[in-house]
């Protein structure tokens, strides 16, 4: 089911972009199994910050796996939505990783995680107004010019809204894409989580996005809680299987976009590799239904 590359002599690991296939987040507990069994997975994705270390097993295994598979580098610490300037040292570390591993894709989040000298280790929400918009666009421009490549920006999962916001999240994202030329990493779990939390229709949210800019899709599981009114409060914890509602939304997205590189994310309560591979196969089945 591999998508033919323009040059059939080019191996998937060297292809210019991510394949329009299902991929998996690479977990350290699965390094040796991946190398020993060479599973039929479209690509692997890693969190950039985990590999900002000098040497040792992480680089050893990622180097071997990168030689065989396309790679997506996914940042979780750049704080693109931060009020302060971007951390130039962190950008330089990203540039070094990109130089070393030549990933097919680099992505980051529409969120902030640092304030002043403190890194908060979470993807925090933004007020959607004109000043935030121009700041985020300036940061995306700076990332793309420093890394000399376009980036994908991921839509957030949020639990609260800001009274100061003057724009819809979808309009805000659309405007960043229009002004900076970045692509969209459409996290369908985040869409579902945010829409349930904010009483929006997930499909209407998706239709309000510039879907032609989607360069990758993320699928993940969520946890469920309740707020002070006893209403459902979904929490994006990457710790559970993908929910049926998210699979249904995925199918509806693919009907609009056609095949898109699709990542299965699991960062907590990581199960056996076979469990994740089965989810990737399920995503691959949906992809095959829309392949032309």
């Amino acid at each position: 089911m591999m998508t033919p590359t323009p040059d059939s002599m080019v191996s998937p690991a060297q292809a210019p972009g991510l394949p329009l296939r299902a991929g998996l987040g690479l977990k350290t507990e699965h390094f040796t199994q991946v190398l020993e069994t060479c599973p039929d997975i479209g690509f692997f994705e890693v969190h950039a910050e985990n590999y900002m270390v000098a040497g040792g097993p992480f680089h050893h295994y990622l180097g071997l796996i990168r030689a065989q598979y396309p790679l997506s580098l996914h940042g979780v610490g750049l704080s693109i939505g931060g009020e302060g300037p971007l951390d130039r040292e962190h950008l330089a570390r990203l540039a070094t990783l990109i130089e070393r591993y030549q990933p097919q894709s680099f992505s980051e989040h529409l969120a902030w995680s640092s304030h002043g000298p403190v890194f908060l280790n979470d993807l925090l929400p933004l007020a959607y107004d004109a000043s935030t918009l121009s700041r985020v666009c300036a940061h995306v421009d700076q990332v793309q010019s420093t890394l000399k490549r376009p980036m994908l920006l991921e839509n957030p999962s949020t639990y609260l809204q800001f009274q100061r916001s003057t724009l819809d999240e979808t309009d805000f994202i659309g405007e960043i894409i229009r002004r900076t030329g970045c692509g969209l990493l459409l996290d369908i779990n985040n869409v579902y989580v945010s829409c349930i939390n904010h009483q929006r229709d997930p499909l209407a949210y998706i239709d309000a996005l510039p879907l032609r800019a989607v360069g990758e899709i993320h699928l993940a599981g969520f946890a469920e809680d309740t707020d002070s009114l006893g209403d459902r409060l979904l929490i994006d914890d990457h710790g559970a299987p993908i929910d049926n509602a998210v699979w249904q939304l995925y199918e509806q997205v693919l009907a609009r976009t056609g095949p898109v590189a699709t990542l299965i994310e699991r960062d907590n309560q990581v199960p056996a590799f076979s469990v994740l591979k089965a989810e990737a196969q399920q995503a691959q089945w949906y992809l095959s239904q829309v392949a032309r």
Partner: protein, 258 residues
């Protein structure tokens, strides 16, 4: 105060406060939703510390560790996104943390566990193969003038407690240690290939290895160890270093010492 400053302060505050200017579209109390962010920040950092300090956690139990790590997170939140480096000052925090004083070796166990994390991620460097190290040592006419370069992962620790024995006895989740921790022990941590290893070494070996790391010639390192330690077995120490691929470079220092 900016939105993000208020948000960041509330996330790290000791009491659960909710910043102003937030709302839930269903009318729910924003505090009940802000709590999700607060919990994400705290639990992810505490979990990160728990996985970096597994033996410290076992020695004090989950509940105590979570409470202690929670106070540490509030006092010393991360200062950069390199989360593998987070918690480097936990040992010093433990040292001054009165409720942990009933486990006096806890801070040194934390120091040992931090050396293990650093060794795991330390730079790669090709070790000299063992036959050529032996050949160069045996063939050197001025053995004392040799400078010995050690692997970047290598580090030592001196403790008044039997830290290596305590650490080794708590590798399993339900370990019951039947050992005497009340005697001094030195530790050597290094990465051989992909595996991080921990060895108990004598106090002279700690001084000897640290002297080599600071660039001292072999004879100076030996003198330092003999003069400042009650026990030192040079042969055993060199054997340990050579057999675990800890030597990356040997060269003769021709300069006359001042």
């Amino acid at each position: 105060m900016s939105i993000q400053q208020a948000f960041a302060q509330a996330l790290l505050a000791t009491d659960a406060v909710c910043p102003e200017g937030l709302f839930s579209s269903n009318g729910a109390d924003p505090a009940s939703r802000f709590a999700v962010y607060r919990n994400n920040v705290h639990s992810s950092l505490i979990e990160g510390l728990a996985s970096a300090y597994p033996v410290v956690r076992r020695l004090v139990g989950d509940e105590f560790f979570h409470a202690m790590a929670g106070l540490y997170v509030q006092a010393y939140p991360p200062i950069n996104p390199l989360i593998s480096e987070y918690g480097s000052s936990l040992a010093d925090f433990i040292q001054g943390f009165e409720p942990a004083s009933s486990v006096p070796y806890l801070a040194d166990i934390a120091r040992l566990e931090r050396l293990r994390v650093r060794a795991y991620h330390a730079a790669d460097r090709q070790a000299l193969d063992q036959p050529s190290v032996l050949q160069q040592l045996q063939g050197a006419e001025q053995l004392g003038h040799l400078r010995v370069q050690l692997h970047p992962s290598l580090a030592t620790l001196n403790s008044p407690y039997a830290i290596v024995a305590v650490w080794a006895a708590h590798q399993a989740e339900d370990a019951i240690a039947m050992l005497n921790p009340w005697h001094a022990q030195g530790a050597l941590v290094l990465r051989q290939g992909l595996a991080v290893k921990v060895f108990a070494i004598d106090s002279g070996s700690v001084i000897f290895i640290n002297s080599l790391k600071h660039g001292a010639r072999l004879e100076v390192a030996v003198t330092n160890a003999l003069e400042n330690a009650t026990e030192f077995d040079l042969h055993q120490c060199l054997t340990l270093l050579i057999s675990h691929d800890a030597i990356t470079h040997l060269h003769l220092d021709q300069k006359v010492s001042p």
